[in-house]
């Protein structure tokens, strides 16, 4: 059904547009004045200066792997992140934890865990889907490299970026 959008009736001053142009220019001049007086800063000297401190809590940087407070790698190679990853950046090779290992009860671990940072789109789906709270997006955003190999984060690199994460997963406690 056709619907006619009611148009506002403009006054003579509004029809001239001049008052709005003047008001806009007033704002521009106000900022110009503050800048000249050194009250506002508009250029950041990156990379000497960084905005890391003012990054919001929910910022999504590079995905990383974390260990728990006992040094156990939290990832159990369930491959849900590999499944959910929209650009298919994650590749996991599962392995068996040998019986003599202190964390033998967990049975499974990632023998290899690669994230291709050329493919990663920082969407955070891997963090959201992880049932073990093993993968987190940290605040690293300047992921650079001079070759494709350098842009492939292997398990070692992922743990280096991720660090330790204390948490409440008691599932693999032998007592539980």
């Amino acid at each position: 059904m056709a619907y006619t959008v009611p148009r506002p009736k403009l006054t003579f001053a509004e029809k001239l547009y001049l008052p709005n142009i003047v008001a806009g220019l007033a704002i521009t001049f106000k900022h110009l004045k503050r800048m000249l007086k050194g009250e506002t800063k508009v250029v950041m000297q990156y990379p000497e200066e960084k905005w890391d401190k003012s990054m919001p809590e929910h910022y999504r940087g590079a995905p990383t792997l974390v260990t728990d407070q006992h040094g156990r790698e939290r990832c159990v190679a369930c491959q849900l992140c590999e499944f959910i990853c929209p650009p298919r950046a994650i590749k996991i090779t599962p392995g068996h934890i040998p019986a003599e290992n202190a964390f033998a009860k967990v049975e499974k671990y990632p023998a290899a865990f690669d994230i291709d940072m050329i493919r990663c789109i920082y969407c955070g789906m891997c963090e959201e889907v992880c049932p073990e709270q093993a993968i987190f997006l940290r605040k690293d955003y300047a992921i650079t490299g001079t070759s494709r190999e350098q842009m492939l984060h292997n398990k070692e690199k992922l743990y280096e970026l991720g660090g330790v994460f204390d948490g409440l997963i008691h599932k693999w406690n032998p007592e539980k």
């Binding site: 369930c78 499974k108 599932k171 539980k176």
Partner: protein
């Protein structure tokens, strides 16, 4: 509801969720409900096994016709019996339908029962789905979502049971995940005829165990993994290899023996991870021997022939085929023999027969393979397509009967060229004999003869092929391609077409469907069929095959 029931079977009226239907006498109630599109969740019930009724998941509300004092059913206004509902739920798996029976599959009482059963089953469940191989095809997961509770009310300590137990060389047990449905116990007793499993430690600690003096080493042990509704029994071979949701499933048939068990090949990114049986009640039921399902590793072997070889040197296909054509043209038909294989598909064997006609070679046969039948699924004939080779005239009624003659003539020097689709060393030829002949081999792996071969052409394994085979009972079944052949290897039917082409053959098919078309035109047994008409379950052509001697 049931179609094609013999007329003498009595049909019974059963009311399912308010709708009256007819089922043949002897139908299980759970099956009747399934036929009426009312799925009833179950753990212990399996259509091929007995019904102990111990999981209690299939509880339904049952009613029987109201009876007058003189045992006549009370009829309502529509002439249907009035129902007296039983106040307690009943299991539907151990109950046959009876006249006037009524069932409610989704009433509030039934829903409550399922919720309760699920809560009890999950009380001691370890919830280790992230590492469990069953995740993704687990009945406990599925029914928990469908019928269970969102959270657990259980605050006490969970019962600890043995984990990661080797029940046998191929099966691993996690007793904490077990729901004690006893399917594996019944399978080993009723189907595998090897009663090694049982329950021990009655009560909270009840668990599956092997007989103390035995291990679960039956050649059918991996079927217990298939029928295990949860992740208690897992395949040691497949353990932690790949999550099941990544696997691309291809319906094909097994080629380790003459029966041709129907199987599903699970592959991801051109790598085969597991093979599971596929239901076909005319062939293998729902079972598959372990020896067959684990026999796929050689397909991904590093040793695979990846490029053509001319006298041991890597060569291009063009050069290899030219060399092969020169050799074939330089020799008369009486000095050539073809050793085909009963492991080839009908399409390939048909092209072999075309090639032998084209080259006028009469010495053609296949290598027979036999073994002890196991009395369950594995027959004596260990070649998958002996019937096809017979039907296409590649071999006589006794496969391999011409091989000693070929070997003898080769030793005498009257046969000089052997075109082999299987290792000719199988016909009793020594290395000395093989080194004298000019060998033209098509194979997937190096064998005892390839070092002596003038030309070696890399072919495809059965997992990489599309085609058809005829099993020992005369059932025409279809192979489908699950993975691609490695590097420059080609499909065997393409290689045969290439050989026909370079030797001056005409009317060459360009697709596998065309090969089948030519074959069905030339052989009455395949008349009126196409590859797609064979379907996933195959068709019987036993009536149009020449009478078999066994």
């Amino acid at each position: 509801m049931s179609t094609a029931a013999p007329t003498e079977v009595q049909m019974l009226n059963v009311q399912i969720d308010g709708v009256w239907m007819q089922f043949p006498k002897g139908t299980r109630l759970i099956e009747a409900c399934s036929q009426a599109q009312k799925f009833i969740p179950r753990y212990c019930y399996h259509p091929k096994l007995s019904s102990p009724g111990n999981c209690r998941m299939c509880l339904v509300e049952l009613g029987m016709p109201k009876m007058t004092p003189d045992r006549k059913p009370v009829l309502d206004a529509d002439g249907r019996p009035e129902i007296a509902w039983i106040p307690r739920p009943q299991i539907s798996c151990a109950q046959d339908v009876s006249e006037g029976m009524a069932v409610r599959t989704d009433s509030p009482m039934v829903q409550d029962c399922r919720k309760g059963v699920m809560e009890f089953l999950l009380i001691n469940h370890p919830l280790d789905c992230p590492i469990c191989d069953q995740a993704g095809e687990c009945r406990l997961q599925e029914f928990s979502v469908e019928y269970g509770n969102a959270s657990s009310r259980f605050l006490e300590r969970k019962v600890k049971k043995p984990k990661n137990v080797e029940l046998g060389p191929r099966v691993t047990l996690d007793a904490e995940r077990c729901v004690l449905c006893s399917r594996c116990i019944r399978f080993m007793r009723e189907v595998a005829n090897d009663d090694v499993l049982g329950f021990v430690d009655r009560g909270s600690f009840s668990t599956i165990a092997c007989h103390p003096d035995r291990i679960l080493d039956s050649n059918y042990s991996l079927n217990t993994v298939d029928i295990c509704p949860v992740g208690a029994l897992t395949s040691t071979d497949f353990r932690f290899k790949m999550r099941v949701w990544f696997l691309k499933e291809t319906k094909t048939i097994d080629v380790n023996d003459g029966l041709g068990c129907n199987i599903t090949v699970g592959a991801r990114q051109n790598t085969v991870y597991r093979i599971t049986p596929r239901e076909n009640n005319d062939v293998n039921g729902v079972w598959l021997p372990d020896s067959h399902r684990l026999n796929f590793k050689y397909v991904a072997s590093e040793q695979r022939l990846k490029t053509p070889l001319v006298r041991g040197e890597t060569a291009s296909w063009e050069h290899a085929l030219e060399t092969l054509a020169e050799i074939l043209k330089a020799h008369g038909p009486e000095s050539m023999a073809i050793i085909a294989s009963a492991r080839m598909t009908n399409e390939e064997l048909f092209l072999v027969s075309r090639l032998s006609e084209h080259l006028a070679v009469n010495q053609v046969d296949v290598v027979p393979r036999t073994g002890e039948p196991d009395g369950i699924l594995i027959p004596a004939d260990r070649n998958p397509n002996t019937s096809g080779a017979k039907a296409l005239g590649i071999c006589g009624s006794t496969p391999g009967a011409r091989l000693p003659g070929i070997a003898e003539q080769l030793r005498k020097g009257s046969i000089k060229v052997l075109l082999c689709f299987e290792d000719p060393a199988h016909c009793g030829l020594t290395e000395h004999d093989l080194s004298k002949a000019t060998l033209l081999c098509v194979d997937i792996l190096p064998n005892r003869s390839t070092p002596f071969a003038a030309v070696v052409l890399p072919g495809s394994a059965w997992i990489e092929k599309r085609g058809s085979m005829v099993n020992i009972r005369g059932r025409l079944q279809r192979l489908n391609q699950a993975t691609l052949p490695p590097a420059e290897a080609r499909n065997d039917w393409e290689i045969l077409c290439d050989i026909l082409r370079v030797t001056g053959g005409s009317n060459l098919p360009s697709t596998i469907e065309e090969v089948f078309k030519q074959m069905s035109a030339a052989h009455a047994a395949f008349g009126g069929l196409t590859l797609s008409k064979i379907g996933d379950l195959g068709v019987s052509i036993a009536d149009s095959l020449p009478p078999s001697d066994h």
